[in-house]
C-alpha cells in the first residue's frame, strides 16, 4: 500500500511543482497516474521512491515512511525508471545478479526467478550479452526483470510500456493484473490512455502540480461528460 499525505514540492521558491497531494493506493489495486507533460508526475514518482526530498507531508510504503525510514521503505517497492539505459556495460545476467545482491534475493530463489522472468520476456538467451547491445525494448525488459526479481509488494513503474513490443506489453499487463490479484499494489504513470482505461482499477490525474481527479473511469464519466471518449475527458480535465 502506498499512502501520499499532504505532499508538496517546489523547485523554485513560491511555485509548487506538486501541491498538497493526497493519494492512497490500496493493496490489490492497479493505479494509473496520468497528466500532461510537466504536470508533476515524475516529481511525484521521484518523491515516492526517495529520489527527491519531500518539502511538506509524508509518503508511506507499507507503513514505512520514505522520509524517516528510507531503507525500510525502499525494501518494500521495486522501481522501473523512465529511462532503461542502465549500466550498459554490464551483461544482462551481471545486472540481474547485482540487483539480486542489492535486494538480498535468496540464493535458492535466484535461478528460478531470473529464468522465469527473462524467459517470459524472451531475453533469456541474451543474458550473456552486454546491455549496451540490447534494443530499447530489451533494455526496458531487463530493467523490469531487475525490479521484479525480489518480488516486491509494491511496483512503481514510470512509463513502463515505452518501447515494449506488443507481446511484451501484453505480458507485462498480465503480470500487473496477477500482482494486483495477489493483493499487492501497482502504481504506474503512462501517457497511453487506452492502457490506463483497460488496465487500471483507478486513475489519478495531475495537472499543474494538483490532483484534479481520482477515481474509476466510470466515476470520471459520471462527473464529466457521460458519453465522451477518454481522450476528450482527459483533455477537458487538464485544460480547464
Amino acid at each position: 500500500m502506498i499512502e501520499i499525505k499532504n505532499v508538496s514540492k517546489s523547485y523554485v521558491k513560491g511555485k509548487k511543482s506538486v501541491d498538497d497531494l493526497n493519494l492512497e493506493i490500496k493493496n490489490g489495486e492497479i493505479f494509473g497516474f496520468l497528466g500532461p507533460n510537466g504536470a508533476g508526475k515524475t516529481t511525484t514518482i521521484r518523491m515516492i521512491t526517495g529520489i527527491l526530498n519531500i518539502d511538506e507531508g509524508d509518503i508511506l510504503i507499507d507503513g514505512k515512511s520514505i522520509k524517516r525510514e528510507p531503507l525500510e521503505a525502499k525494501k518494500n517497492f521495486g522501481f522501473v525508471p523512465d529511462s532503461p539505459d542502465m549500466f550498459l556495460k554490464l551483461k544482462g545476467i551481471e545486472y540481474l545478479m547485482f540487483m539480486a545482491d542489492v535486494y538480498d534475493v535468496p540464493q535458492d530463489k535466484r535461478k528460478d526467478k531470473i529464468e522465469e522472468l527473462t524467459k517470459k520476456f524472451e531475453i533469456y538467451n541474451d543474458l550473456n550479452n552486454q546491455i549496451q547491445s540490447y534494443s530499447h525494448g530489451m533494455r526496458q525488459k531487463i530493467v523490469i526483470c531487475g525490479a521484479l526479481l525480489a518480488e516486491p509488494k509494491n511496483w512503481i513503474l514510470d512509463e513502463p510500456m515505452t518501447g515494449l513490443d506488443p507481446k511484451s506489453s501484453y505480458d507485462l499487463k498480465e503480470m500487473m493484473r496477477q500482482h494486483a490479484r495477489a493483493g499487492k499494489t501497482v502504481f504506474f504513470s503512462t501517457h497511453i490512455l487506452e492502457v490506463a482505461e483497460k488496465l487500471c482499477d483507478r486513475v489519478g490525474i495531475i495537472n499543474n502540480g494538483k490532483l484534479v481527479f481520482v477515481g474509476t473511469f466510470d466515476e470520471m464519466k459520471q462527473k464529466f461528460k457521460e458519453n465522451a471518449s477518454l481522450e476528450d475527458l482527459f483533455l477537458e480535465i487538464t485544460e480547464k
Partner: protein, 553 residues
C-alpha cells in the same frame, strides 16, 4: 573553413557545455571566481617556486639553457600522454559522430574540427604548465621581446606533431574496426594496442630486466638514450625550437623557427591526406560495423551465486570502468601508465644530458639532504603521478542520469559512496607501489622506509578519494552525451591536480618546518596529520550523506 570553425565550436561547446553550470556562473559567481582565482594563483605560484629554484641552481653553474630543453620536452611528454588518452576517444568514441555522418560535410572538415578539439584541449594545460616556467626563464635571463614571441610559438607548435603522429597510429589501428565481429572487445583491444605501441616507442630497444647491476642499468640508460634520439627523429621540431630559444643569433632563430613551421605544415598536409583515406573506414566500422559476436546461450549455475553487497557493488564499478574504453583510458590506466611513462621520459631526458643511474646515485649521495627530505620528495613524486587518477572525482558523474539509482535502492548512501571510491583507492595504491618500486630501484631504500612511505601515501590516497567524491557529489556532471565529457572535459578534474599540488606544498612545508627530524618521526607526524584530516572529512561525508545527494536528480 567557416564550417570547420563552426564544427570545432560545436564540438567544444558540446564537451564543455556543463562547465558554466559547474562553475555556478549565475549564483555566488564572485566568490566562486575568487576561489578559482586563488587556486590558479596557488598552482601558478607553485610552478614559479619550483621553476625559480631549479633555474637559480642552473644559472649558478651556467647551465640555464638545459631548462629550455627540459620544459619543451615536458610539453612534448604532456602532449604525448594527453593524446594517448584522448585521441581514440575524441576521434572514435564520441556519440555525435553518428549524427555527423548524414550531414553535408566534407571529410576534411570533420577531421580538421576533431584535430582542433584535440589540440585546444591540450593547450589548456600546456599553456599553464609550459608558459609560466618559460616566462620565468625569460625574466631571470633578461631575455628580449623576440624570446617571448618565439616562446609562445614554441608552446603552440610543440604539441602539434605528437598529436598528428599518435592520431595517425590510432586511425591505422581503428581502420580494422569494421572487420571485427565484437566491437566492444575490439575497442578495448585497440586501446591496449595503442598503449603497447607507445610504451614500445618510449622504451625503445631497452628491455627491463630483473637484478640489473648499476653498470648494466647505466648501459640500459645509454640504450634508452635511443628513446630521446628516436623522439627527436619523429619530432625534430623540439630541437629546432630549443636552438631558436637559446641562441643569441637572430638569423639562426628565424631559420630554426621557419624550419619548425615548414615541417609542421608539411606534416599537417600529409596527416590530412592519410587521415582522409583511413579515418572514416574506422569511424563507420566502429559505429555500425560487425555488431555483437555470437555469445553462449544459457547461464551456468555458478553465475547465479550470490555475493556480499560490497563485493558485488565494487565489482560493478570495476566492470563499468574497465569495459568502457573512455573510462578505461581516462580513469583506470593512468594510475599504472603515468608513473611508467614519466619515469621513462625522465630517464631519457637525464640520459640525454649525460646522466646515468650511477650519477644520479652519486648526486643524491653528495646532496646535503636528510632522509626525511628524500621521503617527502618521494611522497611529492607520488602526488605528481596520482594527480590524474579520476575514478573518485567521476564516481557519481560516470553513472550519468542513472545516478538516481543510488537513491532508490535500499542501501545507505554512505556505504555506496565508500564502495564507489574503493577502485580509486586500489588504483592509487597500485600507483604508489609502482612509484616506490622505481624509487627502491634507484635509491635502494630499506624495506621499513618503503612500508612507512606506502602507509602514509595510502592514507593520502584515502583522503583524496573521499574529498573527490564529495566534490563530485556537490558538482556532479550528470547530463552528458559522451563519456568523454565526464572523464576529460569536466571542470572537476582540476581538483585531483589541485589536491596533489596542495600536498606537494605540504611536503615542502614539512621539510622546511621539520628540518633535522628523524625520518620515521617526520613521516609519523605527517601521517597523523593526514589521518586526522581523513577522519574529519569522512565524518563530514557520513553526517551529510543524504544532503550531498541532493544534486543527484
Amino acid at each position: 573553413m567557416k564550417k570547420v570553425i563552426k564544427l570545432t565550436k560545436i564540438f567544444l561547446k558540446n564537451s564543455f557545455s556543463n562547465m558554466d553550470a559547474q562553475m555556478g556562473v549565475s549564483t555566488k559567481s564572485k566568490s566562486k571566481f575568487l576561489l578559482y582565482g586563488l587556486l590558479f594563483l596557488y598552482f601558478a605560484g607553485l610552478i614559479i617556486f619550483l621553476s625559480y629554484n631549479l633555474l637559480d641552481g642552473l644559472i649558478q653553474i651556467q647551465q640555464e639553457e638545459i631548462f629550455i630543453g627540459m620544459i619543451l620536452f615536458m610539453i612534448l611528454g604532456l602532449a604525448i600522454v594527453q593524446t594517448i588518452f584522448s585521441s581514440i576517444n575524441i576521434l572514435y568514441f564520441t556519440k555525435d559522430s553518428e549524427y555527423l555522418l548524414p550531414l553535408p560535410l566534407k571529410p576534411y572538415q570533420i577531421i580538421l574540427a576533431r584535430t582542433n578539439v584535440m589540440l585546444i584541449s591540450e593547450y589548456l594545460i600546456i599553456f599553464l604548465v609550459g608558459c609560466i616556467p618559460l616566462i620565468m626563464y625569460g625574466i631571470l635571463t633578461g631575455a628580449g621581446i623576440v624570446y617571448y614571441i618565439i616562446m609562445l610559438l614554441a608552446v603552440i607548435l610543440v604539441p602539434i606533431l605528437p598529436v598528428l603522429l599518435i592520431s595517425i597510429i590510432v586511425m591505422g589501428i581503428m581502420s580494422f574496426a569494421k572487420l571485427t565481429k565484437n566491437r566492444n572487445k575490439f575497442q578495448l583491444l585497440a586501446t591496449a594496442l595503442l598503449l603497447v605501441i607507445v610504451i614500445a616507442l618510449s622504451i625503445s630497444t631497452s628491455s627491463m630486466q630483473d637484478d640489473l647491476t648499476n653498470e648494466e642499468m647505466a648501459q640500459m640508460l645509454v640504450e634508452a638514450n635511443g628513446t630521446i634520439e628516436m623522439i627527436k627523429g619523429y619530432i625534430p621540431t623540439v630541437d629546432y625550437l630549443i636552438e631558436a630559444l637559446t641562441t643569441n643569433n637572430l638569423v639562426t632563430t628565424v631559420i630554426e623557427v621557419l624550419k619548425t613551421i615548414v615541417i609542421t605544415a608539411i606534416s599537417f598536409v600529409v596527416y590530412m591526406l592519410i587521415a582522409q583515406q583511413i579515418y572514416f573506414k574506422g569511424l563507420v566500422g566502429n559505429l555500425f560495423g560487425g555488431g555483437t559476436a555470437r555469445t553462449k546461450k544459457g547461464i551456468k549455475q555458478k553465475e547465479y551465486k550470490n555475493s556480499k553487497l560490497y563485493k558485488s557493488y565494487v565489482g560493478k564499478e570495476f566492470k563499468v570502468l574497465a569495459r568502457n574504453p573512455v573510462f578505461l583510458m581516462q580513469c583506470l590506466i593512468p594510475a599504472i601508465l603515468i608513473p611508467i611513462i614519466m619515469v621513462v621520459i625522465t630517464y631519457a631526458g637525464l640520459n640525454s644530458d649525460g646522466m646515468g643511474l650511477e650519477q644520479i646515485n652519486q648526486m643524491v649521495g653528495q646532496m646535503t639532504i636528510n632522509t626525511f627530505m628524500i621521503a617527502c620528495i618521494i611522497l611529492g613524486v607520488i602526488q605528481f603521478f596520482t594527480m590524474f587518477i579520476y575514478i573518485a572525482i567521476t564516481a557519481v558523474s560516470r553513472d550519468g542520469e542513472n545516478a538516481v539509482f543510488m537513491k532508490y535502492i535500499p542501501v545507505p548512501l554512505y556505504k555506496q559512496y565508500i564502495y564507489k571510491i574503493v577502485p580509486n583507492i586500489i588504483m592509487y595504491m597500485v600507483s604508489i607501489i609502482i612509484t616506490l618500486g622505481i624509487a627502491e630501484y634507484i635509491l635502494h631504500l630499506p624495506i621499513v622506509t618503503l612500508i612507512a612511505l606506502f602507509v602514509v601515501a595510502t592514507i593520502i590516497g584515502v583522503l583524496q578519494s573521499i574529498v573527490m567524491i564529495i566534490i563530485d557529489l556537490k558538482r556532479p556532471k550528470l547530463n552528458w552525451d559522451s563519456e568523454y565529457a565526464v572523464a576529460k572535459q569536466n571542470l572537476n578534474l582540476i581538483f585531483p591536480m589541485l589536491f596533489s599540488m596542495l600536498n606537494i606544498g605540504i611536503m615542502i612545508g614539512a621539510v622546511a618546518l621539520l628540518k633535522n627530524i628523524n625520518m620515521y618521526l617526520g613521516l609519523g607526524i605527517v601521517g597523523v596529520l593526514y589521518i586526522v584530516a581523513t577522519v574529519v572529512i569522512n565524518k563530514y561525508l557520513y553526517n551529510n550523506q543524504n544532503k550531498l545527494a541532493d544534486n543527484i536528480i
